[in-house]
Symmetry: C2
Subunit: 152 residues, 2 copies
């Protein structure tokens, strides 16, 4: 089976606002006023948590099907602490990202507790975003200046 | 400085669709038809890439300010390959998430090449999402069954 190639394209519209094109969908990322933005959309880290819960829902239903029980619904509460010191350029040993991510899943399903614990273990192991957050993922950032862009 | 506490809440609406509440914003996560969804919104992994580029924009402007140059705009193209085998429950040694993430940044700025390379290094080091993807982040998933939810 060939890899799925995921692609999005984005454009800065202000120092805090980014407009994103994901296939036919447009998304707006921004910061609230107290972080210098116009609050025209969720923050980057809210997008990360949103995608994470969406991922758990998809995988949750696939695994419930494998385990043979009906999964009627999941409610999620996803939280995490961020120390903004490094983001703002201060000298610190603290990491800039989430120190940890905690997700509470309230599950309505026809399954006993042991089955649901097995379900959760498999969901975590198969969820793409859980993998990318919990484990090392190589990231490459490649810079093109406007002159290069024109020449390309 | 106190940590920022980020919170979102989500609800499954179908096996592929999740509705997310991030403060006053509502987001829809879904899968395209060829992955079993109704295509009512971007996929979970598109949300991750969207947040990542939004994060780079915010941090990019903070760092440009520190380095004393004008950053007029950034365009982003973010891509990554995913092998869906593990997601779909097949026996495989492949990871379920992005194998790697590649982001092309086209920058329009009043800065020379050396300054922009220093800018990129600092942006990557200070961006919360870059940190959470590139490095290990503890994730805890905690299960509540509907009976527990009612009792709580």
């Amino acid at each position: 089976v060939a890899d799925i190639s995921v692609l999005i394209q984005s454009q800065s519209e202000s120092p805090t606002k980014t407009v994103v094109k994901a296939r036919e969908f447009d998304l707006v990322v921004d910061e609230p006023a107290d972080l210098g933005g116009e609050n025209e959309g969720p923050t980057p880290v809210e997008y990360l948590l949103a995608g994470f819960t969406g991922c758990l829902n998809v995988v949750g239903h696939l695994v419930a099907n494998d385990l043979g029980f009906e999964l009627r619904s999941i409610r999620f509460k996803a939280t995490g602490p961020i120390d903004p010191a490094k983001l703002f350029g201060q000298e610190t040993e603290q990491r800039p990202g989430f120190k940890n991510i905690d997700i509470q899943l309230s599950v309505d399903a026809d399954a006993d507790e042991a089955t649901l614990q097995e379900w959760l273990t498999r969901v975590e192991a198969r969820c793409p975003i859980s993998d990318n957050i919990s484990n090392f993922t190589p990231v490459s950032l490649n810079l093109h200046t406007s002159e290069q862009s024109v020449a390309a």
